[in-house]
Symmetry: C2
Subunit: 143 residues, 2 copies
DNA sequence: ACAAGTTACATTGCGGGCGATGGACCGGCA
DNA sequence: TGCCGGTCCATCGCCCGCAATGTAACTTGT
């Protein structure tokens, strides 16, 4: 049976993710954050003091991954975990000054990562690609 | 600065890859292979006895990843590593009978994974999406 | 008020990606 | 021949994804 990797969306999507991740990693490294930490930072920039559970509800990440990511971010001085005032099981996540300072640069780095891999795309092509990705993701989430 | 994850190709590509990977994993599990092993199997089905180096040249994977993947595949009885006849540094990789038997089913599983996430796509939309992915990947490789 | 069920989080083990490093080996050149 | 740079591979440490499991704390029903 003929099977060309380059015609497989599964294979291409893994290459694509690696490419984008590398692009973001290069740019995020100087700023002190890793690709997997960026979505967490995004949420906290828009609202601080979220619990781990609230972050989980907002992001497409499993609880175990989140716990480990937060631990790394705390170790790297991006985030502080404080006890929740009324629920002793829970914790609230706060940004450090360092993380707050980097908001603008980090977002620019992410935009630059996007841009670098989509260079040569016309505006409608970029939009179409994003839309196709969202459609496929929705198919996957549905099942 | 406004920044919507769902407008970021970097973020969407990671979600997309996770979705496809999960789809392939579900289907590959019964057949005894993991998603990362599939590209290696593909190469070996088309040509056996390749060295690790040759596999590296054909796939977009780093040497360290390949060594680990092959070790897992050997452990799982998919592959045998034999000493290269003339170069004692090198090894040749051969498929086990088990791995050979699963070629057809595995390829069907991969096609099914593709299909499940692209359901609802018209033919030209699927083709266009693949093309966009290849373009972005090429941009990333170029750098 | 208390047992039982649920929830929040940490931890562990695994797949799989990466860079860096090290050992064994090959090849070419003096 | 003997040395030295390059090559093939293994290994280690790290990031990041997952499922499964454990613990503490909250909630609910009786």
């Amino acid at each position: 049976m003929a099977f060309d990797r380059m015609d497989s969306a599964t294979y291409l999507s893994s290459l694509l993710a690696k490419s984008f991740s590398r692009a973001l990693q290069e740019r995020g490294q100087k700023l002190g954050f890793a690709p997997g930490q960026f979505p967490v930072l995004l949420e906290l920039w828009s609202e601080e003091g979220l619990t781990q559970k609230q972050l989980l509800d907002r992001l497409d990440i499993e609880q175990a991954t989140m716990a480990n990511t937060l631990a790394r971010m705390e170790r790297d001085g991006l985030v502080l975990r404080k006890k929740h005032p009324t629920d002793r099981r829970a914790q609230q996540i706060f940004l450090t000054a360092k993380a707050k300072d980097r908001e603008r640069d980090a977002k620019e780095a992410a935009l630059a990562a996007d841009q670098s891999l989509l260079s040569g795309f016309r505006h409608f092509e970029r939009e179409l690609m994003l839309e196709y990705m969202r459609m496929a993701i929705a198919n996957g989430a549905q099942n």
